[in-house]
């Protein structure tokens, strides 16, 4: 196995070829905030929270999809990056309608946590208050577009792990939203197996169990990771 040596935040590291900067950093105990990334799902670099600085280029690169290469010198937490991350979180908060106090995910929300991590005690950007819908057509689950940050974890888990591909991303710009089937009510989509994996991996309160009220939703990515791991290692084969 070929090895790549690089330096992240002043620390010399050696990692196997193909390791991403995010994996390399995390294995070295260097925390880089992420939101769309989830172990067990393919990376999409959608949220831009894991942007890092790499010596020799002015471009900021997302750590979750950038492979470590020989001699790379990487910075993960410069003041510039910290300001960009806070701005990204402010953009997410102001773009939708995120009312933590009355959200099912209050206290267990990755977006709420990131506001703390990035030091966002207020938004420097104005709130948009868009008019968004809630889809309660599914018998067990709900989708509140007000709380959706378009991380596409639900799209990926349904396609890559459950194999049902109920979810997609429809429309463009401020109208962009998660759609079920061919933009149908979720409950009308036959492909849905009612497995609930999308709810488990949703980082906010956008996807939730009906009946959950304020602060009652806990996302459970560990279950997904156990499933993906077991499949990969064929733990259920005789």
């Amino acid at each position: 196995m070929s090895v790549r040596t690089l330096r992240i935040d002043g620390r010399d590291l050696a990692v196997p070829e193909g390791t991403t900067l995010l994996q390399a950093a995390r294995e070295a105990g260097i925390a880089i905030p992420t939101l769309c990334h989830l172990e067990g799902l393919s990376p999409v670099a959608a949220c831009r929270l894991c942007l890092v600085e790499i010596e020799g280029t002015d471009k900021l690169l997302p750590a979750c999809i950038t492979p470590a290469s020989e001699g790379m010198v990487v910075q993960t937490a410069t003041p510039r990056l910290q300001d960009i991350r806070r701005t990204v979180v402010e953009l997410l908060f102001t773009e939708g309608n995120h009312v933590c106090a009355i959200c099912v995910a209050n206290g267990h929300c990755e977006l709420q946590d990131l506001a703390v991590t990035t030091g966002m005690d207020h938004s420097r950007l104005p709130y948009r208050f868009p008019a968004r819908r809630v889809d309660l057509s599914h018998p067990f689950f709900g989708l509140d577009h007000n709380r959706c940050i378009l991380c596409t974890r639900c799209v990926r888990v349904c396609d890559e792990v459950e194999g049902a591909h109920v979810w997609d991303v429809g429309w463009r710009g401020e109208h962009c939203r998660i759609i079920a089937g061919l933009d149908e009510p979720w409950g009308a989509v036959d492909a849905c197996t009612n497995c609930g994996k999308c709810v488990q991996v949703c980082p906010t309160g956008a996807l939730f169990h009906k009946g959950d009220t304020t602060a009652e939703k806990h996302d459970e990515p560990a279950q997904l990771q156990a499933l993906v791991h077991a499949r990969h290692h064929q733990q259920w084969n005789p």
Binding site: F93, N97, V99, C100, A101, I102, C103, N106, G107, C109, Q112, D113, A115, V116, G119, M120, D121, H122, S123, R124, P126, Y127, F129, P130, A131, R132, N146
Partner: protein, 195 residues
Amino acid sequence: MSSGTGPSSSATSSRKVRLATVWLAGCSGCHMSFLDLDEWLLELAELAEIVYSPVGSDVKTYPEGVDVCLVEGGVANADNLELLHQVRTRTRVLISFGDCAITANIPGMRNMLHGADPVLRKAYLELADGSGQLPHAPGIVPELLERVLPVHELVPVELYLPGCPPSAARIRAALEPLLQGGWPELSGADLIRFG
């Protein structure tokens, strides 16, 4: 962004800090949390003079020369706006107190209906039992603003104290340094979490 040091002239220990609290469009939960300071309120009374507050004073007019003011609530109507401008003009350190002041929060959910008139129609006509009428009492019932706004979108703010409500411990962490002439450094989930 927090300036880190706050306004240049700090309160001196030679006199009590003039402290105010203001209640705009919020549920008063932040003020209830303030009362949850319990026995520390006795220490607070040693360090500060409460010059205006719905829970600590009977003064009706916001006074001049206030050192620190906790502002609870979003800015939802003409009265809120007028009082906020008085507060800003007469206060050295304005603290945006709780999620409604910082994000518009629950009161701000009416902004999704886009305008005061649709909100009034929804509340007083569409959802009424047939006998609804729009409230109209000029000079008595304050006019709604078109949108509920966070405090800092209207006036400069020195310090932000998120939470719905901010816990008593969080309020103390912000006030205590200010009362002693210092400046609080608020970070971490215990001190700046929304919700």
